[in-house]
Symmetry: C2
Subunit: 167 residues, 2 copies
Amino acid sequence: MSISMYSASVPVAIRLLNNLSAILGKAAAHCEARKIDETALLNSRIFPDMFPLSRQVQIAGDMIKGGVSRLAGAEIPRFEDNEASFAELQARIAKTVDYLSTFKPEQVDGSEDKDIEITRSSGTVKYKGQAYLTEQVLPNFFFHVTTAYNLLRHGGVEIGKRDYLGN
Amino acid sequence: MSISMYSASVPVAIRLLNNLSAILGKAAAHCEARKIDETALLNSRIFPDMFPLSRQVQIAGDMIKGGVSRLAGAEIPRFEDNEASFAELQARIAKTVDYLSTFKPEQVDGSEDKDIEITRSSGTVKYKGQAYLTEQVLPNFFFHVTTAYNLLRHGGVEIGKRDYLGN
């Protein structure tokens, strides 16, 4: 088997998203056991001008949802950002995993040289597919999953690297 | 061009390590300008039982150094963990980038099905090369780079996601 644009993205992200969902389940149990208001953790931030935990989880999923869609030339489904509990964030992750699971390898493979255009407030940026995946989508995805993990660790939830890696 | 075990690892990691080095340079300048003792940041932790910032930087480099070495069947160089300043951590990163730069694509490509054995205190774990890269090496690498970034953000260093992504 050779590594491919699909195998480097979809199964890797599904695995991490499922790990993140299990971590959020532990956070919910932690709050339940200690009578902690979930919103205290959901609104926590590494620094005041960074996004809170709930938004970190949403963005992690959106990065890979948008990334894989663009590589495959599919329309990106929009999810409302209205999750207000760990259970709702887990449902959001499940919805993202379900969406990612609809892609077949042949829809993503071979997209290394595909032209990808991203329009941001600062202007339009152009990438080739492989650079887009390895320099933008995956670093962003891992960034937001890790930041969510760090916020929960900082908040005292008893999780470890094995929960993040899923092994 | 097709994505490969080499292109999914070595250039991706070199890019992120160089970004991290630039971030550490900004942290040093921040400390210098505000008369902050660098060790206050270097010893900072997300939670008391997590590794401090300096160790996060060391581990980030070690994860990819060990990962690429194992995929290529090369002996892993050991670096002493004795860095005590941002400048020394930048030198450590430069040494790691130099080492990674010695690998040619053909040394890493085709390692998808290679048997990789990792011995930990909990026992020996076996992977195939591709799962080792995408489920262990890269998630660990991004984890430690992001955690170093988060610790600096938490400490008030003025950096942003663009510093992390390098664009």
